[in-house]
Symmetry: C2
Subunit: 237 residues, 2 copies
């Protein structure tokens, strides 16, 4: 188990939280609020199949009375030539959706794009910080979730504009189970989060994303309060 780093002793009063509607960024959002910061939530619509995630984000921000903006970045997909998917050398690999397939289909440079936009928003509203939920479990899959990347982007964020912006990724070296442990200790209700990659009414309980979520709850000895599709809720019972 990784230890959870202390809250940064910086002087920020306002932060832009990159908030997807999932568990990790839900925890980051509440952690920023618990620090007494003014929070502006920012979500990205990149045409995700699991648009329920964005609806959840909207509902949470509405109930918290937080300013929340969903930025439509679907046009960015036009940037990407998907012929790689028909290239035999990059043929869609078999295996778990979360690992190999995501690697083959994900928008390149995704986190640099999202952070660049969040930093723009921060400069625009006078926020000194951008919070985001990169966590320890992402390091293997994504170069742009590694501490070296976040550190390098933090340096850029400090010099790219007249007003410096600090990147804050409090869970950078923390596992999903430990993020959940902190959120549960804060009394957060994870019913108000969405994780499933399938776009259905109930979470499927079997996609890679659901399995990872259920494993985090299991590691904490707690039952996930989210409703799952009855047929597939094996991980829950």
């Amino acid at each position: 188990m990784s230890s959870i780093p202390p809250v940064a002793a910086d002087k920020a009063t306002t932060t832009v939280v990159i908030y997807s509607g999932g568990m990790d960024s839900f925890t980051v959002l509440h952690r920023a609020l618990s620090e007494g910061l003014t929070v502006h939530a920012l979500s990205f619509d990149y045409g995700q199949r699991h648009a329920r995630e964005l609806d959840t984000a909207r509902q949470v921000c509405a109930s918290l009375g937080l300013p929340h903006q969903v930025v439509d970045i679907r046009a960015i997909h036009g940037l990407i030539d998907n012929s790689a998917l028909t290239d035999p050398e990059q043929a869609m690999p078999e295996g778990d959706y979360d690992t190999d397939n995501l690697r083959a289909t994900v928008v390149p440079n995704r986190n640099m794009i999202l952070l660049s936009l969040a930093i723009a928003k921060a400069v625009n509203i006078g926020a000194e910080r951008v919070d985001y939920g990169a966590h320890g479990g992402d390091h293997v899959l994504y170069p742009d979730c590694r501490p070296e990347f976040v550190e390098a982007m933090n340096h850029v964020a400090g010099i790219a504009n007249f007003e410096p912006v600090q990147l804050h990724a409090p869970y950078l070296t923390v596992s999903k189970a430990d993020i959940l442990r902190e959120g549960l200790a804060m009394g957060l209700d994870y019913r108000h989060t969405w994780t499933c990659y399938e776009g259905r009414e109930l979470a499927c309980g079997v996609c890679g994303s659901c399995r990872e979520r259920l494993a985090a709850f299991a590691a904490n000895g707690v039952t996930d309060p989210l409703a799952y599709s009855v047929d597939n809720a094996a991980g829950q019972r």
Copy 2:
């Protein structure tokens, strides 16, 4: 006069050139071609009033037979709260459009956003390099045109994805007049570039951007081949 740095002795074979249709990126584009690189040109439609610039870029790429993509990033303006423009402390300053007014109205963090997208394109098509035309004259106005920024972004570009991308800004410390000098020495025809900020049929010759262009030609003792609006072509005659 700044000296023009030598061509980088890197091993890139393909580059994504951020190409606006203006003089500087036109020169960068041809410089990359002269290095023998495979060039993919990338332009951004951010709703610029001077859309003639994009038309010029399309025409040049078509005549050179280069792959060219215009990415529509107008949605990014939705990110920006323009209330700053009505904030008395940030009231639209008087003076030259190119300096004070641009500072007040420009999208924050613009170059980080554009570079992030260009790096995504580079990773997608297997290009090892992104070329862009930041130049010496921009340093005063824009933190994200300074050498420190480009160096920091280059570091990030090297670690953000499985495939490293190198940023190449050959004119980073070179004046506009010296960029033009190099282009003229390469035999480039600057009739195929567009600079004017006004969206009219002919370049106005008096906006800050036209004045800067005409000054670069004057510094080289050469007449700009572009047609200017007759009434305003004072700088040309």
